[in-house]
Symmetry: C2
Subunit: 309 residues, 2 copies
C-alpha cells in the first residue's frame, strides 16, 4: 500500500491508499505554517509515524510515500522549490522524508496531485484529456493528456491561476495585472466584495468577516452586492475555461478545491456563459463538472504518484 | 512522394515533398476566394493537375495528398467545416479531391499544418513539446506534445487567437471582447493605428494605406504613432505567450505567419517582456523564436499529414 500526504497551508492530511485508489486509513493535523521548515517537517513526521504505526498493527506492507505541496516541486531532485504559504524556498523535503522512512518518495504540486486523484477514481476517471482547476485561496491546475499527467517541458506548466484574462483593480501577488486568480479565487471574491463595500454599496455582507461561504449564502438569498460578486465570478471563470478549451480542448473540465462545492448553485450559469462564448458553437466541447473526491483527492493522488508518473 | 497543398485566402500553394520533408517542386496560383466553392475547387484541381503532370514526366510515384485550409477541418470525414475567408461552411473538400485523384487525402487547419512543417524540418524540429503561433490576418496556432500534433478531445483546440488576454476598444469577429487576435494580428495593428490617428495623433502613417509593413518600417524610423502600436503589440504578444507557458509549458514557442519576419526587430523586446512576466523567474522556460520555413511550412506540413498523424 502507498502513503499519501497532502500538505496545505492550514492542515496536513495523510492516509494509506490501496492499489485501487481507496483510502484505508486517514488522519490530519495542523500545519503550523508560521513555524520554520524544520518544525513543520516534525509535524509531517509525526503524522507519517501514526500512519506507519497503523500499518504495523494491521500487518500492511508500505511501498512508497507520495506528497502534494502547495507550491512547486522539482521532480528530479525531490526538493520543494517554492511554497509561498509555507515560506519554503528550496527545502529538501523529499530527501528528508526518504532519509527518515527509507521508502521511495515522490513530490508534486497539490493541484497536480488532486488532478491525478480525480483521474484515478473521481470525476475525470474515464477521460484521456482532462483539465482540473482548483479554486481556493489561489487558483491552481492539473492537466491529463493521453491518460498521463502532463508536466510540460520545464515543469512550470498548468499554472492556470496566472493566465491573464482581463484587467483588474488590483495586481496579482506575482506582480502582473489581470491574472485569473485575481478574479476567481476565494481571495479575489472577498477583495472584490470589500472593494464594492468601500464604494458604498449596501449589503448584508460585513467587510469584517467576509468569506466565500457568506458571499455564496447571501447571493442565494438575493443580496445585491453578493449577486454582483457572483456575477463577475461567473463571467471570469467562464472566460478562463473558454481560454483553456481554445488551447488544449480537454474532454472534461473539472472544478475542485475549497470553493468547488459551495459554488454548485452557479454551475448552470457557468455552463451557459461558456456556451455563449465558445468559438465553434455547433461543435462539441469539454463538459464542465464539479470534482467528486472533495477532500480525498489530495491524499489519493499523492499516494498514486509512484504508480502513474 | 507526397503532394502538399496550402490553401490561403489569397493564394493556393502546392508542391511535391519527399520523405525527408524537402520540396522537390512547387507552384502557386490565385485562390479567387470571392468565387463559390465549386470554382475555387476547380482552381485547386488545376494546381494539382500541374503537380501530377510534373510527377508523371519525372517518373515520380505519388502516395497521398495533404491539404491545409484556413479554417476548421473534420479529421474523421474530410469535410471542411468552417473557412470564414473562403465563405465555406461544411464543404466536402477531401471527398471531392479523393474522388478526382484516387489517392488518400488528409485535411487540417493551416496553422496546424505549418506547425507540423516546422516540427519536421524547421525551428521546432528537436523539440518534443512545442507551440507554433501564426500571426497574420488572424492568429492561429498548433501544438506538438510528446512529438505528435495535439488535436485535443474534440478537434477544437489550439485556437490561440481566441484566448482572452485583456480588454480592447473593439470586439472580435467571434463576438467576444479581448481575444488575443484583436491585439496582435495584422488586422489588429492596423485597426489600432487608425484608432490612434482618429484620436488626432500625428504620424507619417496614412490611414488610407496602412499595412503592418508600414507600421514596422516607421517604428524603426522612430515615428511616435508607429512606436505606440509596436509597444502595445509587444505587451500583448508577451501576455499571450506567458499565458501559453503557464498552461502547457512548451520547450519552444515559434512565431510564424505573414508577420513573423517583419517583426524580427521586436524579438528581443518580446523576450525581455516575457522574462519580466514569467511566473518562476529563476527557472527555465520555453525559448521564443521566429519560424524558419517562412512560406514553405504549409506545403511541407500538408504533405506530411499522412506520415505523422
Amino acid at each position: 500500500m502507498q502513503v499519501g500526504i497532502d500538505i496545505g497551508g492550514t492542515r496536513i492530511k495523510g492516509g494509506l491508499v490501496n492499489d485501487l485508489g481507496s483510502i484505508i486509513y486517514s488522519l490530519e493535523i495542523d500545519t503550523e505554517a508560521e513555524k520554520v521548515y524544520a518544525e513543520v517537517l516534525e509535524n509531517i513526521f509525526s503524522l507519517i509515524d501514526r500512519i506507519f504505526s497503523f500499518a504495523l498493527k494491521n500487518n500492511i506492507a508500505l511501498n512508497s510515500i507520495g506528497i502534494g505541496i502547495p507550491g512547486l516541486a522539482d521532480p528530479n531532485s525531490d526538493w520543494a522549490i517554492y511554497c509561498t504559504n509555507l515560506n519554503w524556498n528550496n527545502v529538501p523535503l523529499g530527501i528528508d522524508i526518504k532519509n527518515m522512512y527509507h521508502l521511495p518518495v515522490k513530490i508534486s504540486n497539490d493541484a497536480t496531485v488532486a488532478c491525478l486523484g480525480e483521474s484515478i477514481c473521481g470525476i475525470t476517471k474515464d477521460s484521456s484529456n482532462s483539465l482540473f482547476i482548483t479554486l481556493g485561496t489561489g487558483v491552481g491546475g492539473g492537466i491529463i493528456i493521453n491518460d498521463k499527467l502532463y508536466f510540460g517541458s520545464n515543469g512550470v506548466g498548468s499554472e492556470l491561476g496566472h493566465m491573464v484574462v482581463g484587467e483588474n483593480f488590483y495586481n496579482c501577488s506575482c506582480g502582473k495585472n489581470g491574472c485569473w486568480e485575481t478574479f476567481v479565487s476565494a481571495t479575489a471574491l472577498v477583495k472584490y466584495g470589500k472593494y464594492l463595500l468601500e464604494q458604498g454599496l449596501d449589503s448584508r455582507l460585513s467587510s469584517v468577516k467576509m468569506s466565500t461561504r457568506d458571499i455564496f449564502d447571501w447571493a442565494q438569498k438575493g443580496d445585491p452586492l453578493a449577486l454582483e460578486i457572483t456575477k463577475r465570478f461567473v463571467k471570469y471563470l467562464s472566460i478562463g475555461i473558454v481560454n483553456t478549451i481554445n488551447v488544449i480542448d480537454p474532454s472534461i473540465i473539472a472544478i475542485g478545491g475549497g470553493m468547488a462545492h459551495g459554488m454548485k448553485f452557479l454551475l448552470s450559469d457557468i455552463q451557459d456563459e461558456v456556451s455563449k462564448n465558445i468559438l465553434y458553437k455547433t461543435l462539441p466541447y469539454g463538459e464542465i463538472k464539479i470534482s467528486q473526491l472533495i477532500n480525498d483527492a489530495g491524499i489519493i493522488g499523492a499516494a498514486m504518484l509512484h504508480k502513474l508518473i
